[in-house]
Amino acid sequence: MSAVAVENTRNQPLVNLRGVTKLYKRGSETVEVLKRLDLEVPRGDFLALMGPSGSGKTTLMNILGGLDRPTAGEVIIDGQPIHTLSDSSLSGWRARHVGFVFQLYHLLPVLNAEQNVALPLMLTHLSGHERKKRAMAALTLVGLEDRAKHKPSELSGGQEQRVGIARAIVTDPTLLLCDEPTGDLDRKAGDEILELLQLLNEEHGKTIIMVTHDPHAAARAERTLFMNKGVLGEEPEA
């Protein structure tokens, strides 16, 4: 690739959605969850998505993460039109490019923190030693290096979510998708998680898209978009 081409790629938005529509069948009824959505997210952005329940936030996140497919439109992430990928290719793409942070953490209770963080590395060809090293580096980044051998049941909610974040970043993904990352935490623990996300965005250049109901959490993001009835806007609907 030439220097000009590299520069062009850098200038492209990391996330580019064009005319994305998502229809669901509920019985005989067809529900339009996303309505011809356009969205551009620059590389290094920290975007909060807010909106009432059922507005389509999670559906949009699932489409961005390749967990769901649009009924119509294009989803281009880092120059890759992911809506055209097969299920298998999409899995591989997710493993390389996306880190998910879930509201309910989704940690395996019988594995310790280090093993949970190392899970995505099972899909790589790294040696056991290298995997361990990377898992420990991710845990150190989230401030839990001394809890590496602890199981989720031995951690607080905030610590569990930190392990979840460490797992999301251990493969050094292009995009971090966080679905209500503080939704299950008290304010103090939630703030710590938000600070950590800010750190990952500002100091490590991670592009983050975060779904939240909490205006306090959204305030930590660089910008906020509001979603209502499948449509994105700059301001909440009155």
Binding site: T58, N62, S91, A95, L104, H106, V110, L111, Q115, L123
Partner: protein, 384 residues
Amino acid sequence: MNALTLIFSAYRRRKARTLFTFLSVVVAFMLFCILAAVRQGMLGQLKISIAERLDTNSKVQGLMPLSYYSKITAVPGVTAVGYFSGFQGHYKDEKNKFQVVVTNANELFKVYPEFNAPPAQMQAWLADRQGAIAGPLLAKRMGWNVGDTIPVQGGPAQKDGSTTWYFHLDGIYKTTLPTAFQSFFVAHYQYYNQGVANVQIQNMVGQYTERIDDPRNVTAISNAIDKLFENSTSQTLTQSQVAEAISFVRQFGDISAMVIYVGMAVFFSMLLIIGNTMAQSVRERTGEFAMFRALGFKRPWLGWLVLRESLLLIVSGGVLGLMLGYEVTHMLAPYVGNLLSTFSMTWSAAGLGIVLSIIFGLLAGLVPMRRITHLQVADALRRG
């Protein structure tokens, strides 16, 4: 960390459930083993019987004079005659019971060519009036070696009043017949006959076995033998071993078949319950599998993980069950040997057991595997 770590971590999730599921598999396959041994005991009677061999027994469940031997030998078509008697004794401890068979050693291997021993051991035995040969399993169980003197206690009283009979172990025989035939202790009739105190059993035998030249002559030879003694005090009944086995199978076959059918129904029911437990275990982890999908794990990889989880549990439980079942059938064999002399677990039954465990492992894993490979990731993540 690899797939095996994930599989064992899934087992550790609910240790009690995993343990009970595993034990259910073990018990199911032990049951399978015992049923296979019962079936072998039924069918084995037929398999080891050959049409060229006849058995002559007393018509009234008693002993027959030894003098019949020369008369039977003279019947045209009879090529060899063995006579058998014996007693049940024990070695050192009453728990170590076994059957002492006494016979005319020089004819034994002509009547039963399925048995043999190294020539040197055979010669030593034939030359030793007090000698005996033992089956390999019996010798192993008792810890005997060739050359040992074996005191067998609990036999009939001898002329000096002793009930302990001393034998020299001259050889260990070999046989291609099932396990039950590998635990005989065979000694000389003459030694026994000359030593036993009870005059009513002196010069008497329990059974004659004849080898004949042509199986087409079974009826004629049987009739000829019985005709010889029809006017004596101890009338005989001679029939081919095949006819005896068929009669045995007819007599006990229905009961045995019923036991086998009920047992198989229990076996399959247990496996259905195990399959359901496996499915439930995977259902409870739907959220985790959705997380795996979100991390980038592919459907086939996760499906294979679930299948391996099921296979490993059921096949390892199955193999352990078969091994324990083998031991149990071994322990039971002396107790059921009189009725089912071929009661034993065969290699083919063990092979079938392993194949069945693989099939059940696959079947038990298929439903949860399908569930995982068709998982709607977004929905499953939301449900947690």
